[in-house]
């Protein structure tokens, strides 16, 4: 279990992480979600004792990272796959890590096998592709067979095959009962990988809830109804227990299926000018929640920005479905 209490990190006047408190439960995959520059990596570095918090603290199973004995056996982490000397072989890299935490050398070959790098174990890591580097980083994280695993943007820059491999891998780790804390700026990715979400923006906590809740909130279906007989429809739909809201010359109905509304209109003899579903995407919900907290807004008019964001969200959809 990871517990952060009032975690704050300031660099001069810039506040990277602002009074952040959250809990990562064991035995679940918890997504750490936020736009670029929200403070995810800084938070992860503070969890690992690499950066000292300006205020507050973060504990792993009740202990500060620096108090852990043989920390690689407690927490495995992949913050940056490039943290390897390019002229050192994959095996040598894992050998010194294993030695430092009194992990048997046989474990090195085991994890190399797990991530499928056995054939290239003696090649210099500098020649590895991003996907291979990522696998080596995961091998390093798994070396001590830890119960807690941290991954910072593990799918960034990977090809679809690599993404799928990492996603399956996370699930396997969670199925083994481990605590997995994985950061990403892609909600669609998190929706597939994580059971719990910690959402931050500009260093502040925005939400901590289950992914289901988050998705439910985001994917709440609304139906727009336009008709010359709005009053009639409003009463009829209201009697069915759905929520009705006036929006200009139309009604916005939530909590009722679009087909049911159509049938209800027919039963009441009402003319329909429009009956359309407004499906909120996960990305839109994410935008709504974090919209004010994106550190670097695109310049230009709001309409431009919104269009760009929508286009970006649309691009994300295939990965999310």
């Amino acid at each position: 279990m990871i517990e952060a209490h009032g975690l704050t990190k300031r660099y001069g006047k810039t506040v990277a992480v602002d009074d952040l408190s959250f809990t990562v439960q064991s035995g679940r995959v918890t997504g750490f979600l936020g736009p670029n520059g929200a403070g995810k990596s800084t938070t992860m570095r503070m969890i690992l004792g690499l950066d000292a918090p300006t205020e507050g603290s973060v504990r792993i199973d009740g202990k500060r990272y620096r108090e852990l004995h043989n920390p690689l056996r407690v927490v495995g982490a992949l913050l940056d796959a490039k943290w390897v000397h390019p002229n050192r072989s994959a095996r040598a890299h894992l050998r010194w890590l294993a030695k430092s935490n009194r992990i048997p050398m046989s474990r090195v070959d085991e994890v190399l096998d797990t991530v499928g790098l056995t054939n290239v174990a003696n090649r210099r890591a500098g020649g590895f592709s991003l996907g291979m580097s990522q696998r080596l980083g995961i091998a390093a994280a798994l070396l001590g067979d830890p119960q807690v695993l941290l991954f910072d943007e593990p799918v960034n820059g990977l090809d679809p095959e690599g993404i799928l491999w990492i996603r399956r891998f996370m699930h396997r780790l969670a199925d083994e009962g481990r605590t997995v804390f994985v950061s990403s700026h892609l909600l669609s990715e998190m929706a597939l990988t994580a059971q719990e979400l910690v959402v931050i923006g500009r260093g502040k906590l925005i939400a901590q809830c289950s992914t289901e809740d988050f998705v439910a909130r985001a994917a709440e279906n609304k139906v727009t109804v336009r008709s010359p007989q709005l009053g009639l429809l409003r009463t009829a739909i209201g009697q069915q227990g759905a929520t009705v809201r006036d929006e200009g010359d139309s009604l916005v109905v939530s909590g009722m299926d679009i087909a049911d509304i159509g049938e209800l209109a027919a039963a009441n003899g009402a003319v329909l000018h429009e009956l359309s579903a407004q499906r909120g995407s996960l990305e839109e919900a994410f935008m709504q929640l974090t919209g004010d907290s994106v550190e670097y807004h695109a310049s230009g008019t709001d309409a431009d920005t919104e269009a760009a964001l929508r286009a970006a969200a649309a691009d994300l959809q295939p990965a999310g479905k």
Partner: protein, 253 residues
């Protein structure tokens, strides 16, 4: 012991230490061979065979600096601190391994220089008998070790290869010599500059009185006796290391 083993694996699983060793040995021993071969009027002495120790010293200091700055360059320092959160312990282990390695290279370089001189001029008297002769040869190992600590400490402080190497080289090769040019007080200051003082340990008495200046490395006018000179040099390297450890613990990795 575990930490020493970790740093040993790290040092010897990249290629740069090997190349630095080859370069250091080639320069020192090669230069000794040249002196023994070219100077046909005088037979080589222990002192003249050690002319080139300072060249190897430069290479070893570069190696020691890079041993830590490459960790910052490639982010492996973070992997290291993640595996061993006790930064003081892990950096001390690295310092120890690098210093021992530097000492070994120094001893190889100095005795190799004597051996190659003997090989080229077999009739020369190159027996190592006096305290001076032992210091001038085996002592090179000690000076290399302390210089490696000095360079590594700069590396920890600067954390950036080019900058740290530049500081180490410019300081040891230029600043200490140029200080003597300051009017009136220059030579007095120079007598207390660390590398100048370290030179006293290797070239110091009784030798300067008994040999021509052209034989062997330029003698040092430092006022400390040879062993105090070494102690002074080591103390400065250790003090610098202490400052760098303090900084490493304070800073974010």
């Amino acid at each position: 012991m575990t930490l020493l083993a970790v740093e040993r694996i790290k040092l010897f699983t990249t290629r740069s230490p090997m190349w630095c060793t080859v370069a250091a040995l080639a320069i020192t021993i090669g230069f000794a061979a040249m002196i023994a071969g070219v100077d046909t009027e005088n037979l080589p002495t222990i002192a003249s065979s050690q002319f080139s120790y300072s060249f190897g010293l430069v290479v070893i200091m570069v190696m020691a600096t890079l041993a830590i700055t490459t960790e910052y360059r490639f982010g492996t320092i973070r992997a290291t601190f993640q595996a061993i959160p006790n930064r003081t312990a892990t950096l001390l282990a690295k310092t120890t391994v690098v210093a021992v390695f530097a000492a070994a290279v120094g001893v190889l370089a100095s005795f190799g220089s004597v051996a190659v001189s003997k090989l080229i001029q077999p009739e020369a008297d190159l027996a190592i008998n006096t305290a001076f002769e032992w210091r001038a040869t085996a002592g090179v190992g000690l000076v290399y070790a302390a210089a490696a600590v000095f360079a590594l400490a700069i590396g920890v402080l600067v954390r950036q290869s080019a900058g740290a190497v530049a500081i180490v080289l410019i300081y040891s090769q230029l600043v200490e010599s140029l200080v003597a040019l300051i009017p009136n007080i220059g030579t007095d200051i120079q007598k207390w500059m660390p590398f100048y003082v370290a030179n006293k340990f290797l070239t110091g008495d009784p030798d300067p009185t008994t040999r021509a200046v052209a034989e062997g490395p330029p003698p040092s006018a430092a006022t400390l006796s040879p062993w105090w000179a070494l102690a002074y040099f080591v103390a400065i390297a250790v003090a610098l290391l202490a400052v760098s450890l303090f900084a490493a613990n304070r800073r974010d990795a």
